[in-house]
Subunit: 175 residues, 2 copies
């Protein structure tokens, strides 16, 4: 939904109406509402896909995988999901950064993601404490790498940044 993002960037998220988004995108409002329940969905509609892909990867990890290994099994499909979305992600990040309500929404979506991954770990027989810690660690690794990715120019860097962020987590918590 690049048209909507462009408008958010030009005139602010709050000030932009669905009618303006639809007009810019060459859609009727009715068509807009077929894809998005409201304008916030333009920004957060991808989170369902992110949760689904990550949870599936956790569930599909080999039975002998440690909790963190099961969590990081999600990094490949997640990086794949964001391939081709660098421009969108960068503009989206700027819109969210400019709006406290959207920043709160983003935090809550990340917590929901951690909750879903944690639940998938518990399904694997991991204790609740270890599941919460491993899921939150994975989501923080993702969050740090994502913030790095939208700040820099190379669209292909995301997978590498995820690995760097994971290595940094291991280094920070070692010893």
């Amino acid at each position: 939904m690049v048209a909507a993002l462009a408008l958010f960037g030009e005139q602010g998220y709050q000030a932009t109406t669905v009618s303006e988004i639809a007009e810019r995108a060459g859609l009727t409002q009715r068509t807009f509402f077929r894809y998005f329940s409201d304008k916030r969905e333009v920004l957060f509609g991808g989170s369902g896909e992110l949760v689904r892909l990550w949870v599936e990867a956790v569930a599909a990890a080999p039975p002998e995988a440690t909790p963190l290994a099961a969590v990081t099994a999600g990094l490949d499909p997640v990086a794949e999901m964001f391939r081709g979305r660098h421009d969108f992600a960068r503009t989206r990040a700027a819109v969210i950064e400019a709006n406290p309500e959207l920043r709160e929404r983003e935090l809550i979506k990340l917590q929901n993601l951690a909750g879903a991954i944690g639940a998938a770990l518990v399904e694997r027989g991991v204790t609740v404490g270890a599941a919460v810690l491993a899921a939150q660690a994975g989501v923080t690794v993702f969050h740090v790498a994502f913030a790095d990715w939208v700040r820099q120019e190379d669209p292909a860097a995301f997978r590498r940044l995820l690995d760097e962020s994971l290595a940094e987590l291991r280094s920070v918590t070692a010893g």
Copy 2:
């Protein structure tokens, strides 16, 4: 503010007015508002003290402390802060659990805590990535231990539960 918590428990958070809280506590509304800006403050007013104590401990950690060691320097003063507050914490947790808006507020407060700890680490010369990862890890350790603490009977267990949660984090992220 046990009177307020009791009312939240009896009749629900949404349905309870400041006027009822003040009456139950034997206060005028004016006196209530001298201590709390609104009824939500009864639940979240302690978060400023928590942030302050933890950030001070991070800043005061020895210069050679690793990022996570600087973060975990906050666990002693934080455990000390919650001494004598077990009953309050348990009732508060039940009120928050029952209300989605309060659960979101709690998450945001925890994120603010992580942000403040991360900023204190950056002040110490830690890179932003390592600071975010270490701060979030510390807050998750706290969150897991806190959830365990309010679920069980022993008021004195919090410090031990913090250590167990930290050990579990190290175990989960090792290897």
